[in-house]
């Protein structure tokens, strides 16, 4: 194991390549359906996907539009002129013998992504992002002397986003991967469904004691933020251990074994590829005029960075804001940010709302035993009225939670939420006379505790408040109960 002391002597340098599957109906170069999730093998294919002689690929304009949106999401602009190239290698899941990609003039040059790690902001620069066609999927049945190839995914449009080596820790790697996810999701350029491989990360890691970069390894095909962080962590430790033993790092491609939480060598340097890039003669260049580019810019929705700015006045911590940003896109039918935005002028309420979302509704929805039926409009009403009841001391914060989770499961709201809360026994009694009766009963029933309070042992008052709450079946306003107890025990 690498001790912290040794680890601290090394500078960690990480660059990440991310393949994002674009949200199109059809493939990048063929008018064939793109949704391979539930499709039988080789049902989404064409002569173009199979690389038949004479087939002419034609570029999907929607893929260009989505890549252009992604450019703005990456704090960049789409390149006015980009071209396609062939990248050659042989593999059974690549029938053409080359991948069509953008090597020399990509659709996005430059850009940046802002991340937060331990509450501190950091900017990771983007080298480039380019369009390319995905390969097919090969599987290798255990024990068989053959492999099986399914070309449904062949030709699916990908945007490969390449970062500068600006990332300096596994935690930053994770934060970057997560922020890319949010950016792609908010820009609506990808379903960004990690489970289905819509975003795949290749993590390049090197360590060095000096300013000169060390030999790097590339761990490919990570499909979760957690595996990005764990694989980077594993590589950092593995490389430091090797160097500390006086050994050297082999520049190589590695895979990630999620079960063992380890990276493993996949392809040594001796097999390093010579891709022989050449311009793709079948796809004419893409030229985007300034009208097109400004139309795309105007179509951009509010992005995570802007939401953070909007919410910044509420005093939420970074992780709360991230939970809200995640929840907003986890289920597109449920609004959080928009409800918050409408209430930003009432800061105290907006903050209460954010806390209720983060602490009550989002965890409530995450539990699959719960079903939320209430519309966004209904939810907004519930929160507004619950806040009013709490403000009037009619509802304790724990009963507010019960009321909210109860009402979320309703399809239609009761006519009066206050009346409903009262019927459910949630409303606390703030009627002094009524509570006073209970207080007197409790003092009589607990002479020892009452005596302790009279003698200045204020610890005992908590016990008595508890007894009042119990006797009132939880309805007494605890603040008022304590006040009355003090009055009677002076």
């Amino acid at each position: 194991m690498v001790t912290k002391e040794v680890r601290d002597q090394y500078k960690v340098t990480i660059g990440i390549e991310c393949h994002v599957q674009l949200k199109t109906n059809t493939k990048l170069f063929a008018a064939v359906g793109n949704d391979a999730r539930d499709a039988e093998p080789n049902t989404l294919i064409s002569h173009i996907c199979l690389g038949m002689p004479g087939a002419l690929p034609v570029l999907n304009e929607q893929a260009v539009a989505l890549a252009s949106k992604a450019a703005f999401a990456l704090n960049s602009v789409p390149s006015p002129f980009s071209t396609f190239d062939r990248k050659h290698y042989f593999y059974p899941d690549l029938p053409l013998g080359y991948q069509i990609t953008q090597f020399y003039q990509p659709v996005v040059l430059g850009g940046s992504v802002d991340i937060f790690v331990d509450g501190k902001p950091k900017t990771v620069n983007i080298t480039r992002a380019h369009l390319e066609a995905d390969a097919g999927k090969s599987s290798h049945p255990a024990g068989a002397d053959y492999s099986l190839v399914d070309l449904n995914r062949a030709g699916t449009p990908l945007l490969e986003i390449v970062s500068e080596p600006d990332i300096n820790s596994p935690a930053e790697a994770r934060a970057y991967a997560h922020e890319l996810y949010l950016l792609m999701k908010y820009a609506d350029v990808s379903d960004a469904d990690l489970f289905h491989g819509n975003m795949r990360f290749d993590v390049n890691v090197s360590v060095s004691k000096t300013d000169e970069l060390g030999t790097r390894t590339e761990t490919k095909n990570l499909n979760s933020f957690r595996s990005v962080e764990k694989a980077a962590e594993f590589e950092v430790n593995r490389q430091i251990e090797l160097l500390e033993k006086g050994q050297s790092i082999t520049q190589e491609t590695r895979g990630w074994d999620d079960a063992k939480q380890k990276t493993f060598s996949q392809r040594g340097k001796e097999q390093a590829h010579d891709y022989r890039y050449m311009p793709e003669p079948d796809i004419p260049p893409v030229q985007l005029d300034s009208d097109y580019i400004s139309r795309i810019k105007d179509s951009m929705p509010v992005m995570p960075g802007e939401w953070r700015t909007k919410l910044s006045g509420l005093g939420l911590d970074v992780s709360q804001t991230d939970i809200l940003l995640d929840a907003e896109v986890a289920d597109s039918t449920v609004d959080y940010l928009e409800i918050l935005e409408k209430n930003l002028t009432d800061k105290a309420f907006a903050k209460q709302l954010a806390n209720w979302f983060v602490n009550i509704e989002i965890p409530f929805r995450a539990d699959e035993n719960n079903t939320v039926s209430l519309s966004n409009e209904g939810r907004a009403t519930v929160y507004a009225q619950t806040a009013a009841l709490v403000g009037d001391s009619k509802l304790s914060s724990s009963n507010a939670k019960l009321l909210i989770t109860e009402l979320l499961t309703h399809e239609t709201l009761p006519e009066s939420i206050e009346k409903y809360a009262d019927e459910q026994g949630f409303i606390q009694v703030s009627d002094t006379g009524e509570i006073e009766k209970v207080v007197i009963d409790v003092i009589t029933a607990n002479p020892q505790a009452a005596e302790d309070v009279r003698n200045g042992e204020m610890k005992a008052i908590g016990f008595l408040v508890g007894q009042v709450m119990k006797a009132s079946l939880g309805k007494a306003n605890p603040g008022l109960a304590q006040e009355l107890l003090r009055k009677h025990l002076q």
Binding site: A31, I45, V58, E61, Q62, H88, S139, Q287
Partner: protein, 96 residues
């Protein structure tokens, strides 16, 4: 241009997934050397100030709508061309 080395040819053959006999290697050392020599003549042209050419058609923005459209050869016709299959999967020599 001088002949290519034996290693050059073997590297090219490996990239092209070709197996060459010794005779062929010798032949290609010579032939490919000649071809490269011929192409190298192009480097004599002064291209200062010219943008690299990626296309000769002059076309730009040849794109299609993002709509599914049937092609003449349907899926079954395409699969008929496969040398070997298992169900709908393409069967190939084991690669891993």
């Amino acid at each position: 241009m001088a002949d290519l080395t034996r290693e050059d040819i073997l590297q090219l053959a490996r990239l092209a997934k070709l197996e060459l006999t010794d005779e062929e290697i010798k032949k290609f050392q010579n032939e490919l050397g000649d071809i490269l020599g011929y192409v190298e003549k192009l480097s004599e042209v002064d291209v200062k100030g010219l943008k690299p050419t990626t296309q000769v058609t002059g076309l730009v923005n040849v794109m299609r709508n993002d709509e599914i459209k049937p092609y003449q050869a349907d899926q079954q016709a395409l699969l008929k061309n496969l040398p070997d299959r298992q169900g709908n999967n393409i069967k190939v020599r084991r690669v891993l």
